[in-house]
Symmetry: C2
Subunit: 201 residues, 2 copies
Amino acid sequence: MLLPESIQSLITALERLPGIGPKSASRLAFYLLRASEDVAQDLSVALANLKANTAFCQECFNITEAGRERCEVCESPKRDGAVVCVVEEALDVLALERTGGYQGKYHVLQGVLSPIEGIGPDDLKIKELVARVANGEIKEVILATNPSMEGDATALYLQTQLKQYGVHVTRLARGLPMGGDLEYADQNTLLRALSGRQEMS
Amino acid sequence: MLLPESIQSLITALERLPGIGPKSASRLAFYLLRASEDVAQDLSVALANLKANTAFCQECFNITEAGRERCEVCESPKRDGAVVCVVEEALDVLALERTGGYQGKYHVLQGVLSPIEGIGPDDLKIKELVARVANGEIKEVILATNPSMEGDATALYLQTQLKQYGVHVTRLARGLPMGGDLEYADQNTLLRALSGRQEMS
C-alpha cells in the first residue's frame, strides 16, 4: 500500500525469477528506478522480444534464431557428424563451445530425468536422440549430462536405449577439478579420481 | 555468436543489474526462455511502466505515484509532523513502516555522503531537509542513516547543519541485533552495546 503500484508490480515480477527473493527484488526495483531510463527500457524490450525471436534447432534442439530450422553448429560443414554430445540444456552447449575443444555436434535433452519432479523420458528429447542414432551416421555418443544423481540416472537410461544401435557410448571423465584442493574434495570426487587414475607418460 | 541475438541482448541487459554477473544473467535468460510466456511479458510491461508511473514526494522525497504531489505518509493527518526520520533511501522508509512503531514523518536523502564516489551535500536532499526544519514545525529529527562509515559521516554532517535551529537531533540506537549471538558479534557492535547499556527496570 505504501509503494506505488508500478513498483509493486515490478517487484512481484522480479520475485518470480529463480534465485531472486523479496529483498533482492525490491533492491533491484529501486535500483532500476534510480538508474538511467535506458537500463529499464533495454531490459523491457529484450524481454518482450525474447520468445518471438527464438526457436529450437530441429536437429539437436539447441536454441537458435526464429525462422532458422537448424542451429549454427548443426549447419556448420566443419563439425563432425559422427560424434554427438548429449547435454541437458542449451547453456551446457555454450560451456562446451567455450572450451574450443569439441568438434562434434550436440543433442540438447532440454532437461533431465527426475521422478520427483515428474519428468520422465517422454518429457525429454530422448526419442529424437534415438532416432538420430538409428539413422546410422553417428559413431560415438558422449553423455555429458551433469555429474549429479539425476544426470547419472539419465545417462544410464540413455545407455540402455542406445545399446542396440552399436554406437560407442562414453561419459565425461570424473575427477578433481582444475585448481581444486585435495583436502577440500568431497569423498565421492576423490574416490572417482582414484579409480579413474591415469598412467603418466 | 552461438547465441541468438535476442538472448544475447537480454543477457547483456540483465548483466547491468547490481548483483547479477554473467553466469546469473545467462541462467535467468534461459529460465525466462523456458518459463511460460507471461513471466517475461509481465516483467517487460512492469519495466516499461516503471518510470512513467512514479514520482517523488515534494515534501519528503519518498517515492510516490506519478501525479501526486505528496506521498501517503506526508498526506496522512494521523502522522506527527513534529518528528522527522531522515533515511538514505525509500526502501528504508518501507523497513521502518514495517515495524509499525513509528508515527512521525520521513525525509529521504536519496543517498549518502561519499567523497570516494563524489557524492557531496548538494547531491542529496539536505538543503530541503534544512528548509523543512527551518520552517519551525519540526521538534525532533531522528537520523536513521545506515550504521556504516558513510551513514555515520552523513549523520554527523546533518547534525552540524541542524544545530542552529534548536531541534532535538537523535540517532538510532546501536547494539546487539535481536537473535544475534554475543560470540559472533564484531567488536564495534559489542563496544556500542556495552557503552549504550541500559538499566533494567
